[in-house]
Every structure is written in structure tokens, then in C-alpha cells.
Amino acid sequence: MKTKMKTAALVALGAAAAAALYLSPFGATAQNSMMMAASTDQVWDAFGGNQQAQKYSTATQITPENVKNLKRAWSIHTGDVSSGARSTTWGATPLFVNNTVYVGTPWYRIVAVEPDTGKQKWAYAAGGSDGPPENQGLKNRGVAYWAAALPEGGKACQKIVYIGTMTGELHGVDADTGKRCAGFGKNGVVDVNAWLTKNAKWKIGLIQPPAVYKDTLILGWAGNDWVYKTENPGTVYGIDARTGALKWTFNAIPPDMEDQTGTANVWASISVDPETGLAFLPTSSPSPNYYGGDRLKEMPYATATVAVKAETGEVVWSRQLVHHDIWDVDTNSAPTLVDIKKDGKVIPALIQATKMGFLFVLNRNTGEPVWPIEERPYPASDVKGEVAAKTQPYVPYPEPTIADTMPPVSKFADIVSFGQCSRWKARLRDEGRYTPPSVRGSISWPATLGGVEWGGGALDPVTNTYVVNSNVVPQIYTLVPREDANRIYGDKQRDRDGYAAQQGSAYGFKLENFLNIWGMPCWAPPYGTLSSYDMNTGKLNWKKPFGQVQKWGFYMPESWGSITIGAPAVTKGGLTFIGASMDSRVRAIDTRTGNVLWKHIVDSPAVAQPAIYTYKGKQYVVFAVGGNGILTPRLADQLVAFALPN
């Protein structure tokens, strides 16, 4: 009896204290903290799972032992899909936060759904998807989420979801209601285009959601870099998360080069170290992509990883990953942050995977390499006006995801095409990595498709296991002298045969896939792999062909692997979840062995990493299934969640 009374007294005291806190000036903060403390749900509140781009979930309910029982929990179709001239590309990673799953669509809508049923809570349409497609078409890679550290009770927009459009607008809406935040920009919309005044050839594409650090959004964008010599310079913006006001800018292009070149933008995601406040910007190549004769001056921030202070944009360090990039091997994924345990010390590091198949492992506070990076000599250009860099960074360790030379010609593809593949290859310039583009045609190995694609890798920060998918794809780069380009293509900016004008420079450009007359790859498989590394030692744990090629519905052997677009996510439970492959399947893989333990067909290739979360004690794995015309023509609008049966 005494114990019961004591308990009742304690409960009453606790309730009174809670009420007092709620009503106090600090009530809102306290309430927020209490709610957060009460919740045991594991969130996925950023594109990369967290701001460190680790794509990691602490969820342990789904394990290698029970994953075979994984079933579809719910599936919805957003309706936002189209093909043809207004083709959609949907590589969004949903967020789970605020007890809601948020996803952006390629028609620039935010759809908020219940995490356990997929039932829609609200939807917001940013508009602008019905006009002529801008430079990148209709694309989206998701949304960003910000919550006030000290929310003001009863006021809207203390939690905001952001979506960008391919017309250069950033919209901010209340996370609970989907209503525009009047205090953000002009009635909830920031016109980012208005900030870009130099060489603005087209509206910038806000394909990738911004990174969030405290009250700052860090925003890059996508655009063209094949069409003109001087494209839009690739400015990165630091934006006030509440008001949309511009706080700072970062430019990879030196001011005195802006009449010669452009872009070097950040179109991939950005990671942030929450402890130091450093943001890590993966920058792309300058324009025009494939001829650098007009931009010979060194631009150290282009095709680089640049660390800036997230609140000011001040550059702390940078490391160029490709000198004088004439291959369009943009740095295409957010660096993944890792604390490496090496020689009894903890090294704050990052892993920058690249299209070249290298894993640059750098001290994230200084930019110094954890394992040595070599400068190796590479071939000179034979194109008039072009001067290829004499050396390029080479990362011997950890082992690159792809070999230094392209695979041999596929005998099968060669025989069935009556020797087309081998004859074609013999005509091309082929000197391995960094063979410069040429007028006769060069094999670019690896090419613009990677190597590692824009999702990057995933890290289990407990075991420091890093899992990354990689393509094995050579392509053919041919420079077309301006006179010939004008004669053949007139004033076209692009053509279906892979031509891009590079207007204003001495050469147009043609990108061709190395396929035979039947559309078969001219090189030997595998075409894609999945690899695992121990990042404490840098050792490769395993590397396996990943996915399956599917052509006309026919699945090719698993040993051939697949070209992949998208990335993995890993769990504490020992699983790696990944879509990404051409065969429209999502898979669960044993992170320890690389063995596929479960697979499921979805509506099209799931070209983004999944989100993994727990809600009311249940673990969900959610894929946005949208497809990408690079892989297959099959596009979709499916958001699908998987969970173990009750």
C-alpha cells in the first residue's frame, strides 16, 4: 500500500513538473525534448540517412536470418510520371521524421504519408512542372527537413520541408500541414535564379535537396555543361533556413575565368560534420566538359572536394580529384564521414568515392590523405589547343572499385556483330585511364557514367564497413571540329546521336556507347559490382557482380552484373539494402558476405538509396521507384515499403 501511494505521489509530482515545464517560457523546448526522448523511432531525416551521408540505420529488427520473410507493407503511386519529351527521372530518397514519410516527386510535389500505411497526410505542389522542360527535364531527388532548435509553441513553420524545382525555385512548407511558410522567401518561395546573374544561360535545376546545418541550408544545383563554353558558374548558396535569405556563396570558378568557362557546380548531395560545422562540397567539372583549351588556367576547386564552413561558406581546405577535367568525371556524391580507428588513434575522415572508381580517404578537418595518394603521369592530348594535365591523382589504396584498364572486348558481342567491336576499338585511342578525348575518338575509361555513381557508398559506423556500387562502363568520346559540327548539326545544341554543341569552343562533342549493332556491350562483363571495404584498414572485404541486366525482359546471368544508378543503405542488423540495378529489383544483401538474401520486383529500377526507419516498433525499408532513362525506358511513380509480417 505504501509503495502504491509512493508511486502515485511520484506520478503526480512528475505530472505537475511536466505541466509546469509545458507552461513555462521554455515549455516548447522542453516539450520538444520530451517528445524526442519519448520516441524510440529511428529516423531517416536526410537524403544520406544523416548529414554525414552514411546511409546507415541502427534498426536491427530485420536480420540476415529473417530477411527472407520480408513482405511489401504498403505501396502507393504518386501519379507523377511521364515519358517522351517530358520524361521524368525520380531518384528521391524519402525522409522519415516527424512521424511522417516525406518524398519529393519529379513534378515538384511533396507527398507526406503515414509511415505504417502509406496513406497520404497532405501533398504540396510547387508548380512549374507543366511548362517546357528546363535544362534537366523533370527530375527530383527528394526533400530536405529542418526543425527549429527552440521551437516557438503554437507557431507554424517550426519544422519545414523544402523542395526545389528544375526552374530554380526553392519552396519551404510547414512539415505538419504542407502549407507554404510565409516567412520563407516570398510567401514560401525563394527564387534562386535571381541570385545568378553571370552567364545565366538557363534556369538552374534544384534537383538535389539542400544539406542542413543548424539554421543554414547549403544548396547546390544541376545544369548543362555540354552546350556552351561559358555556362552558368556553379555557385553554392548558404541560405537561412527560416527566412530564405542568402547568407553566403561559394564559387568554384575563379572570377577572372568566368568569361572562359562555367559550372563546376555541386549537383550531388552535400555532407556536413555536425561537430565541426564543416560542409563538404563535391564539385563537378568546368564547361565545356570535353574540351579545355579555353580554360587552361588551374581551377583547384573544380572536380574536387571542398570543405567550407557551413555557416559562412569560408573555404577551409580543398582537394582536387581530377586535374583539368576533360572527361566529365564530376565529383558526384556526398563524401561519407567516418571515424577511422588506425594505429590506436581515431582519425576524423571522409570517403569521397568518384566516377574514376577511386576512394579518396581524407582527414576531414585538414584534407590530408589517410592513405597516400600518388600523382601519376597520363597521356597527352593530340587535339590542337588542348593541354591535358601531365599527372592525375591516383589512389592505390583502398583498392579502386574498377581496374586501371577497360575489360577486353566481349568475344560473344564481337562474333555476333561480325567483328564490329574489335574493329571499332582498334580505330580508337585507348591508353587506359585519362585517355584524352580526340578527333578520331577515344575510349574513356571509366567514363561519365562511372565508376561510382551519384549515390555514393554507405557506411556502418560501428564496424566501419563501407559498401559501394560501381559501374564498369567505357564510353567513346569524340571531338568534332567546329566546322564539321556546323556542317553536320547546324545550330543544334544536342542531337540524338550523342552530340553536344559546346558552342563557343573550337569543338563540338559526341558521346557514344560502346555497343554493337544489336545493342550489346562490346566489353566483357561484369557491368557493375558491389564492394565492401574495412575502412579501419582500407582492405577490400569482398567485391561481387551486382544486379542483372535485363533486355527485352530477358535477364542476363547474375555473373554479368548490371549498370547501377542509386546507392546502398546499411543497417546495424547486418544488411545492405539496394535497388539501383537495371532489372527493377530491390535486394537485401548480407553485409558480411555480399550474398543476396532477398529480392523483390518493383515497378522500375529504384535509382536512389532506400530510407530505413522504425515506427511503432516496426522496421520499414522504403524505396522510391522511379526509373532512369539511362538504364531502361521503364519509368514509374511507386513508393513502396517493406517490413516483416506481424
Binding site: 535477364y555 542476363m556 520486383i601
Partner: protein, 128 residues
Amino acid sequence: MTQPHSTRGAWLIVLASLIAMAICVYDYYTPETGLIGTGGVVLVACAALLMLLASLAMAKFPNRSPLLQTFLVVSIILDIIGSSVAGYFLESPVIMAAQALALVGWLMNVIGNAADRSVETDEVEDED
């Protein structure tokens, strides 16, 4: 110059072709199959249609020339082989099962036909 041929197994092949066509239509229009809108299932559907016509001819016209009989038997087995390979690469167990069913029908027909020929020969010998 026609002569009677066995119709045994022909209806089984008809059934197998219909199953193959039905699954192809389902696969072609259903996203969850992974084969939606693919040329591979169209190919198998066309092959199944040809097999259906051949097996119907086999069932409905027992009196046919040896040349036509040979054509039907050979074309059906080639169809079965081709569709089985396609079914394997489409990773469609139903298409492969339908081909197995068709193969049973084909074997029944071929064996039945051989048996009939043997009986006819015996009868001729008895008459001698």
C-alpha cells in the same frame, strides 16, 4: 496424299499454348512481374500463338500429309525449345511449366503416332 495421324497430346499442347499466352498477357500488363511492356513476352506470346495454331491443326485434322505432319511435329518442338529458353531468361516459371506440358503433349503425339504406324504395319503383315 493424306493419311490418318494421331491426335493424342494435341489438346495438351493447345492447353499449354493457352496458358503461355495468358501468362504473357498478364506479364505484359502487370508491373510486379518485372516484364511489363517487354519484347520478350511478346515474342513468347507470338510463339505460343503459333504453337496454338499448329496444335489445333494437329487435333482437328487427323488426315494430313506426311509432310504436314513432319512440319507440325518439328515446328512444335522448336517452339517448345525456343519458348523454354525464353522462359528461362525471362525467369518465368509459368512459361517454363507450360512448355513442359507442351512437351508431354508432343511426346504423346509422336509416340502415339509411332505406335499407330507400328500397328498399321503389323496389320499389313497379318494380312500377308
